[in-house]
Amino acid sequence: MSTTEVRQAQRAERLNWRIRLRRDRTLLIMTVPTVVLLLVFNYAPLFGLVTAFQYYDPLIGVWHSEWAGLDQFKRLLDDPVFWEAMRNTLYLSFVQLILFFPIPIALALLLNTVVSERIRNFFQSIVYLPHFFSWVLTITIFQQMLGGAGVLNHFLRAHDIGTWDIMTNPHTFALLVTSQAVWKEAGWGIIVFLAALSAINSEMYEAAAVDGAGRWRRMWHITLPGLRGVVVLMLVLRLGNALSVGFEQFLIQRAPVGHEAADVLDTFSFYYGISTNDYGYGAAAGLFKSVISLLLIWGANKLAHAFGEDGLYRK
């Protein structure tokens, strides 16, 4: 390409950019409130991260607190309790990935096969409902049903069968919290998959049926490939959030099973940072977690692109 050609191309591009701006003006204006919201509530508070490098004292504020450099991080990396929380977080995340993640997909596929709209709506409402319960309520229901004095154990005791410790057993805690999460959130999780399913062209099913493809063949060759993009996107997001397994659920159940089983990174920040006025330390733990999460989401996104999927954005 000659220099003039390059210049022309650049000018065209610039022009192109201006034209696009004019064309999309309305849409862009519509995003402004969200952008402002993001700036004010998500980006501006990032400034507070500076406390992770300080011996932060809320009374004298960020500007006057003593500078700690990387001391808080050094303390963090030397703290066995922190690593325990890290281990718990990763383990719980892994268990949830294996046991929780496929369930909304299966549910969505199941719902999709229901022909009667009334039955489908009814079923959908039922599985959505627990999402709107708070964790306190969810755990109370579990306690009332499965707790040491709950319905199940009361029955076992009355028939001299011996009791089954579910709610306060640290060894099966991961399964407990995962089943709670499934009960509460799996129904809500199907929304995005149902949307993807409805986007699949129904003519493809008809054509396949005409060609003699059975129910399973159609699911394998049409439904699942149609869902693949969304599944990968959700997986990328899930991996990015691997270090955020929840907070209230663990806060409430920390005492029953003991802190060694229930401390995750978020509760660690709370108990060892905020509740002992050690704000800088809590902030350091939070920042550490965010950086790792960012790396995870970046890696997962790369992986998605490597497999030819969109991931978070189209390359």
Partner: protein, 557 residues
Amino acid sequence: MSNELNRRDFVGKAAAVAGVAAMAPLLSACGDGGHQQTGGNSASGLKKALPAYLPSTSLKPDIPSVSNGPDVASDPGFLRYPSQHPATVSGVPGKGGKYTAVTPLWGTVPPPGNSFFQAMNKALGIDLTIKSADGNNYATIVPTMTAAKRLPDWIQLPTWWNSTFNVGRLTGSQLADLTPYLSGDKIKKYPNLAAIPSGAWQAGVWGNKLYGLPGGSTKFSVAGTTFYRRDILEAKGITSDDVKSADDLMNLGKELTDAKRGVWAFDQVWTYLFSFWDVPPTWRIEDGKLVHKYELPQFLEALDWHHKLATAGYMHPDALANTPADTRFYSGKVLISGGGTGIWHLADHKAGTAANKNYRRDAFNIFAADGRSRPATFMGGSTSIMSYLNAKLKPSQIEELLEVANYLAAPYGSREYTMVKFGVEGVHYTMKNGVPTATDAGKKYVQPTTYGFLVEPPAVISNQGADVVTKDYTAWQAANVKALYKPVFWNMNISMPQAMATAQAAQTVEDTIGDCTRGKKKVSDVQAAIASWKSSSGERLKRWMTDNVLDKYGTGQ
């Protein structure tokens, strides 16, 4: 219902939230310890700062107080609200000044400028705007005000947040020194304030200077105790006198637990029971040296007993799962439960008798775990409600507000007390069977803790309509007043550097203790946690406490 009870209700809840922390010395953390005094008091400095104590004699209680030395006594009991309301303040205390006060409120915030506030302003002779802030968010609201140096003229800072609010530093800069107005005999100008016991004032002294005005105070400052269902235990022939040692108590576990019927003997008891093993709140002096409670062999014995209790199957499974206890106690699913003394009042009686008409709460007498030593338990801070005046106020303004404080501190049953707690007769309350009963306007506008959280007279026990509660509670206090002792650094304010406050909180150890008392961890796990705490920060904490507090100020007694 007596409004005094509301405060107790709140203090009980707060104590439950703050747990044992409420019983520790009144801590305050500071970021850079080097630049600041520790806030402690020497015995002689304290003596100079403290106001004289002149108890009120204007009303005679139905059940008199039983005392054990100048600082320890049971609260007096009133079975009826006094029919005569003697005046303790002559004229109007204020001179028309305009002020703002901020207090926390756990409840519905009354609308500003309502008829009760107007009536109070008229009675006080000032234009006082009370801004009630949501108690649940209070800990986050106050630091923004102090950081901007924009405190109101009068503010309440609950002592369990001394550390969060960094009161130790505020006293040097933003809060007014009241020593020149109140110390020694100067307080005689304000007779109702002079009737507040010395222990409560002591909790308002920082660095040998008096800053705080105490809210509800008591000479029987025990944060909590071990309750039992007297109606059910009595039916089985068990009385408080049968429990004289930890073994006796453990034996009740076997006797009372009937899991098949869904009844377990115990709820959680650790928080208010461990002191019976001769364990101090935090520190003790042995051979002139500080010893932390974690280092005491009897602390491990106490832990061992509680671990056994949890694993023996005598504790309700929901208690092991750490869910709230009240309904279990009311429904008789648990029969013995630890709890803040604030619960022992009319509202509890109403809730309990609604579940079972025979419901009766009582507490075991304080005993020594071994059954042989002298029964003893430590006292906590004499008050947890402390208000402060702004340092920017002029002396004449401070004097005016102290006159107002004197009005607010008028004793139970007096004309002023009735006004502060119930409002104007005929408007906010009417007398029904000798009990001041709130009208609709009263229910809406008169929140007894609005002014009570600034200054309040010493506590009395009174539960109109439930004499059994007043009688049981006063009898329990009277029977146990001899068992109370003042721990090291009692009522002393200590400002610590951040790292020391974190060490003092000992979160990992406290977590492991909780796990141990719920049967999840062994005593040896706690020992390991203590050992690691000691080497990482515990020993440093002890050195700091020795150098900066013990060597400088002594034990504060």
